[in-house]
Chain length 369, copies 2
């Protein structure tokens, strides 16, 4: 495998935590929303996986940028972009929402935070959703202002997350419900904290607006977290694939619609909501999808996937794997794949060639765990 | 300086040339339009600079993605997004064009290729311009289709570029004028070739649509180029700063307008064109800009800039440097900076702290060479 260094420049934005995680030994980066996102810290993938499932980690996920939509028509614009029904959305809650274009193609899959009808944050995956929102708002002359505020998220994830958080924020934080958010005091500042995060191990995301205070909090989390064996970390490939947390740009893109992505419960077609691509999705639902995201298990003990690989049955392409990793739980490679009709309907076996080596696998449901 | 490896995945798209340049020893990558863009090949920066200025290089710049705008309203949409007058644009020509939002803020600075009134390619810098175009087209119900075709550009740059190109395409290619494009035959295929590129050393960009043929051409360029000392390369930090080729995301972003970026000759306010931000730019032109992109020379023999650094006079911030590199030509560090009014009006000296070391520099005009 060929290895290259990240060539840094202002265009690949550093986060407010970058100098800290570099001192803490970050070994690789990915780029997400034009920003550095840590990808590993020197432990083996399996060691950091075990750590995340047993202790607590603090993640620099500032690359999850916020798009703020403010103004009289803010709800109208937000609803226009998503097939999820936000008409009854409540202030202080988070909503995972597919963002789709006029054809139903996935443009992003953010978590949307509602402050009130006239103020929303869209916590985006890796595409410039601000430009889409701006284009729509200009084109439809909506009364909104759209910006990317200086918010830098750190995530606290793992089974010991709330033990650590309680030490700092008191037991009030234990009452925070899943996908709810609230401001919590920290010294002379306050921080928006949401019970969310890109793992299935529990924890929160802290939306840092006050940089100075946020960095003090970052340092304190490591100080107070020693007794819980805290470590720096990042979204984890094994853990997220086992839990089937889809990754925009990896598992799905503009050529896929939310029904193909298995996001049916976030697709509301049965009411009078006005959103882009609705007619297309209604038609697709009637005629049925032509492909679907599924799990795959591959009889291999390692893989390093950087682009899709075709899956074949009797020489015929029946789909492609888009993300994959060796899973210590299943003792084989598991992955997220887009599978053609009708092969996604049952657990077919398939052939795949990885690094010129022929091997076999089978389709399965997700999440794996 | 802390060094990290690029964590590859499908989301950071490989190009059709990636496996080739990795065999050829690419050492670092940047990410551009969600795609791998080579940043160095193991030579020192000065060696590759000297090579580029003397011989010929082939660059994998597939990350310069194309946004195709097709349909009856294609011209209307393209013109809506740029302050450059394209009303008299000619088929077969390329137009460097600032793309701006409703406030005049820079969203991208692509080269736009006109096929005819109803078909354009926008060869984009690093932002998802397709999403902006889509939002506008939907909002204004324009009759266009917008897509990212599978086009992978390779650039042939350097003073020996046309010697090499003539061997392959015949002397017809010598007649191609600057910023013009035309299809040229290659074996049983044809390739769009534009006389353009992100260096000032001359050469072309080959817009490869036929992947198989493009890869044959890539290999042949290295075979036939041996006599001209051909090497793989990439946009070069020293060469591009000396020539003041601005880099979107590094030197400018949505908070800067094209007048501040010194792009006045691409801002047409004196006619009845309909484009976004026009009113704002007219006002700004009347009242005068508050900051401007300028060159800086800094009395240092090296720098590694990954974010802006403030420039001060008597302790007061008067601007910030956004890109910088040691220039073997000037025997000091040179850079691109955004300088506040009135300091951009003359060659002020300033103080700057680089790696905790205080030093001095002065403002100057660009391009440096």
């Amino acid at each position: 495998m060929s290895i290259q260094v990240v060539s840094k420049s202002r265009r690949l934005r550093s986060t407010i935590y970058s100098s800290r995680i570099e001192k803490q030994g970050v070994k690789s980066y990915t780029i997400y929303n034009h920003m550095l996102l840590p990808a590993s810290f020197g432990d083996t993938l399996e060691d950091s996986y075990n750590h995340l499932k047993e202790y607590v980690q603090v993640w620099d996920v500032a690359a999850e940028r916020q798009i703020e939509i403010k103004g009289k028509d803010a709800y109208q614009l937000v609803q226009l972009m998503t097939c999820r029904d936000l008409s009854k959305a409540k202030a202080g809650k988070c909503y995972y929402s597919p963002i789709i274009d006029e054809n139903g193609g996935m443009i992003n899959d953010p978590v949307i935070l509602k402050f009130d009808d006239e103020r929303w944050w869209i916590s985006i995956a890796d595409s410039d959703l601000m430009l889409f929102a701006k284009g729509l708002a200009i084109g439809k002359t909506l009364n909104v202002s759209i910006s990317e505020p200086n918010v830098n998220i750190m995530a606290v994830q793992g089974p010991k997350a709330f033990n650590l958080l309680e030490k700092i924020f008191g037991n009030e934080i234990l009452d925070l419900k899943f996908y709810n958010f609230k401001y919590f005091n920290f010294k002379n500042s306050k921080h928006l904290i949401a019970r969310s995060g890109w793992s299935k191990q529990g924890g929160v995301e802290i939306y840092v607006e006050d940089t100075k205070s946020g960095l003090e909090l970052y340092d304190l989390l490591f100080e107070e977290g020693k007794e819980f064996n805290v470590k720096p970390g990042c979204p984890h490939l094994i853990e997220r694939i086992e839990g089937a947390l889809l990754s925009y740009g990896n598992d799905m893109d503009i050529n896929d619609n939310p029904l193909e992505c298995g996001l049916d419960k976030f697709v509301n077609l049965d009411n009078d909501l006005n959103f882009l691509g609705k007619d297309k999705l209604i038609k697709i639902k009637e005629t049925g999808i032509e492909k679907k995201i599924m799990g795959v298990k591959i009889n291999l003990d390692k893989i390093n996937l950087r682009s899709t690989i075709d899956l074949k049955i009797d020489g015929k392409i029946i789909g492609e794997v888009r993300s994959a990793v060796y899973s210590p739980t299943f003792k084989k490679v598991i992955g997220i794949a887009m599978i053609n009709k009708p092969y996604f309907l049952s657990n077919h076996k398939f052939d795949i060639v990885v690094n010129d080596k022929e091997c076999t696998g089978e389709i399965c449901n997700i999440p794996f765990i």
